[in-house]
């Protein structure tokens, strides 16, 4: 270590310190929520901010799991995230691969149409009418099919596919592979970093589904967890305006600990997906595949 100059080491130390501070700033609010959900309600009300609870209390969790609403909406969200992301990846990669091929007829026209949708959107009402016309109302498909392909992700993936050397495909063709074979056995395995990234984007988007669920789904059994979360959090902060507007008798709004517990339960699963996708963010997969 003595061959590194003092200036270089100082820089490293300062760098690490800065990053540590930024990391703390990011983590501490979340820590606050987690520990807040584990403190008894009275203590939280008294102290306001609790980083380390003096006594652990699972009351908030018991409260939210006492009805099956939370579990059901959590399962709904897991379902639409899992299925939705698979649908997303499948269709996005199919379309991107097709558009990446230079010999596709009408490629330019199709790309223009796709970019057009990125800039202009029908709006809430026309989109609602379209979804309704397809008979998707009140079903999980209304949350999966209309958003099956994100134009932005599509363009990035297409560019990624275009960067793969032609030699690979030609070699595969010589070996008798058809187009689908090339896509699934060569191109996609080489694109795991891109696919992992998009999987994450899509999954988080699906996990946060709130507004589309309110719009398209009337059956409360089919609502994802964000609907429940928003209702609990806003109500526990005293509701919109004075809660007497709704004249609720004997419903003290759920204490802050409950809204924190709901936040933890609805964030933790998607948070845990990140480490599993981390290993796919490696690079250098193409090294050695094309020689000369």
């Amino acid at each position: 270590m003595s061959d590194r100059s003092f200036g270089s080491r100082l820089f490293d130390i300062l760098n690490a310190a800065m990053l540590l501070i930024v990391a703390m700033i990011t983590v501490i609010p979340f820590l606050f929520i987690v520990s807040g959900s584990l403190t008894p309600a009275e203590e939280l009300l008294r102290k306001g901010v609790v980083l380390i609870p003096s006594e652990l209390s699972l009351d908030a969790y018991r409260y939210i799991f006492s009805t099956d609403a939370l579990v059901r909406s959590l399962l709904v969200t897991i379902y639409i995230t899992a299925v939705g992301t698979l649908v997303n990846l499948f269709f996005t990669s199919l379309t991107a691969y097709g558009l990446a091929r230079r010999d596709l007829y009408g490629r330019r026209a199709l790309m223009l149409m796709i970019i057009f949708t990125m800039l202009f959107n029908g709006g809430i009402i026309p989109t609602f009418l379209v979804v309704k016309a397809f008979g998707l109302l009140d079903s999980y498909n209304s949350l999966i099919i209309p958003t099956a392909i994100s134009a932005f992700n599509l363009i990035i993936l297409k560019n990624f596919f275009q960067q793969l050397p032609d030699g690979l495909e030609e070699a595969a063709k010589i070996d008798g592979c058809n187009d689908f074979g090339i896509l699934f056995r060569i191109v996609l395995p080489l694109s795991t970093p891109a696919l992992a990234t998009f999987a994450l984007f899509y999954a988080v988007g699906h996990w946060n589904t709130f507004f589309s669920a309110i719009l398209y789904i009337n059956d409360s059994a089919k609502w994802p967890i964000q609907v429940l979360l928003r209702q609990v959090v806003i109500m526990s902060q005293g509701g919109i305006g004075d809660s007497t507007q709704f004249h609720e008798q004997f419903i003290a709004p759920p204490p802050q600990t409950v809204s924190m517990a709901v936040i933890v339960v609805s964030t933790l699963p998607i948070l845990l997906v990140y480490p599993f996708l981390q290993k796919h963010f490696t690079k250098g997969l193409l090294l050695g595949s094309i020689k000369g």
Binding site: E42, Y105, K132, M235, Q237, E248, F250
Partner: protein, 505 residues
């Protein structure tokens, strides 16, 4: 390259075919607005009740009521009509209503909270809803005889739905009675007595714990939105009609008097100094730190201060309706209703059907059903003691029956007559009814206000907070008023005055 060309050709042709198919599919189905929701199967007999009514309503609990909810079952047994309710979370209700309005799949009964929003107003003016006003006199439980409230709920002078009535004057002064007793004081009746009470709360250790750690008046970020403090000082409620035009309350000298009073309270540390960012004054009361608040008197009875009661069983929260100011006793009237049941013409297709739906509402607004929704089922939620209902399982009531109260057409805000405090609440409401001051702009619509109302309000609310803090003085206040006028306030005054004259000529 031969195969390549053939493939290309095939590609080309299949794209064309697909595009053609897509176009014809789009044209074929046509507007599917034909799908009406299950319009209640109107039975053949003329006075038989409808089999089913579709409703859209909001819920404020974490999860919506289930279809087998005991109150709904009872209502169905009583009326012979099943309610098919689409429950929408209150936090997303206005958005959902807007989408539903334009989607042509409306329920027969649509509960609308903000009937003066631009979308609602234009829908009403385009003839989308039945005008219900003239029919109400045939239904004893729906017949409203409060002309002010009817005016408030009307658009262009006509009533387009059944409004959900509320007590007019629910606000008053809440205070810790045990603290008053500890200090040998009595309930304040005038503003000066109120001031003395706050001073005593702060300086004379009312909770007898040896420390001067108590706050007089607990305010939070929404306290100043409620006009009661200002009406006590003689200011109008929101707006007043004077000298041929409508003037906003903050342009009156009485409003400034009220601000001066609040400034005095702030400077003498009689209110919590961070009130503009305090989420809810209830926290301060529940922590046992504050002795007074200005809010709905119902909070003393609805469980808002249960935390305080648990921590300190000797604490007593009492209330009084209004404090006497320079112009006597005044209170600010609310709108008198919250939300309206409206009936779209696309789903309620005939006058006969409308009348049956009105008859349904009439039936569920009678005494028996009102009692059911106020107290639940005997033996399950409440029991009768000395002729008065008393809750045995308030939490169960809160979970099961309370959300169904969204279907009520009148909410007396009553907690029964079992305790003296509950009886006092009803007395205070009745007193307020006599002294309330109405906001004349409630029935009026001003386009500038709908567009820029929030920004304009912010100018004034920021200025009044600064004034209370002492950061600006009377000149700064007047400058803020001028800014309000310039940024659209003058136009709002003009529009409201014009509408007012039209309505009241």
């Amino acid at each position: 390259m031969e195969t390549h060309k053939k493939k290309n050709n095939l590609m080309f042709r299949s794209i064309i075919v697909l595009l053609l198919l897509a176009m014809t599919a789009g044209c074929g189905s046509g507007p599917s607005g034909g799908s009406q929701p299950n319009a209640g199967e109107g039975s053949e007999a003329d006075d038989a009740p409808l089999k089913e009514i579709t409703v859209m309503n909001q819920y404020t609990t974490p999860e919506p009521p289930k279809p087998d909810n005991v109150a709904l079952v009872e209502m169905e047994k009583y009326t012979g009509t099943k309610l098919n309710i689409t429950w929408v979370p209150s936090t997303a209700y206005n958005d959902k209503v807007n989408v539903t309005l334009t989607s042509s799949s409306l329920p027969q009964v649509l509960m609308v909270i903000d009937h003066k929003s631009p979308t609602m107003v234009s829908s009403v003016r385009s003839g989308m809803f039945w005008e219900v006003g003239p029919y109400l006199k045939d239904y004893p439980n729906l017949n409203r005889n409060n002309p002010e409230v009817i005016k408030n709920a009307s658009i262009d002078g006509k009533l387009y739905g059944i409004y959900r009535g509320r007590v007019l004057g629910r606000y008053g002064l809440l205070y810790r009675k045990d603290w008053l007793d500890n200090l040998g004081l009595k309930e304040p009746e005038t503003i000066d007595e109120f001031y003395e009470m706050l001073k005593a709360f702060v300086h004379q250790d009312p909770d007898k714990n040896g420390k001067n750690d108590t706050i007089g008046l607990a305010m939070d970020k929404s306290t100043l939105d409620f006009k009661d403090v200002f009406t006590w000082f003689g200011a109008p409620n929101g707006w007043e009609y004077k000298d041929g035009k409508l003037t906003p309350d903050f342009m009156t000298p009485e409003y400034l008097d009220a601000l001066n009073f609040l400034r005095k309270l702030y400077q003498e540390h009689l209110v919590n100094s961070d009130f503009p960012v305090t989420q809810s004054y209830k926290d301060l009361i529940n922590k046992g730190m504050a002795g007074a608040a200005i809010s709905c008197m119902c909070h003393a009875l609805d469980g808002s201060f249960n935390t305080l009661a648990k921590a300190n069983p000797d604490a007593v929260v009492d209330f009084t309706n209004a404090l006497k100011g320079p112009k006597g006793e005044r209170a600010a009237a609310g709108a008198g209703f919250l939300g309206m049941f409206m009936f779209p013409k696309t789903s309620v297709k005939s006058e006969a059907e409308l009348k049956k739906i009105l008859a349904y509402f009439d039936k569920i607004s009678d005494e028996k059903m009102s009692f059911l929704l106020d107290w639940g089922i005997e033996g399950r939620h409440h029991k009768i003691e000395n002729g008065n209902p008393v809750f045995i399982d308030a939490k169960l009531f809160g979970d099961e029956i309370n959300p169904i109260k969204q279907m009520k057409t009148w909410d007396g805000s009553s907690y029964g007559t079992a305790t003296p405090l509950a009886r006092k609440l009803l007395d205070m409401y009745a007193e307020n009814d006599k002294i309330v001051v109405h906001d004349p702009t409630l029935p009026l619509i001003s386009n500038t206000f709908s567009e820029r109302g929030n920004d304009l309000k912010k100018i004034i609310s920021d200025a009044q907070i600064k004034y209370i803090f002492g950061e600006i003085d009377a000149d700064g206040w007047n400058a803020a008023i001028e800014q309000w006028k310039k940024q659209g306030g003058d136009k709002v005054i003009e529009e409201y005055t014009e509408e007012y004259n039209k309505l009241n000529k």
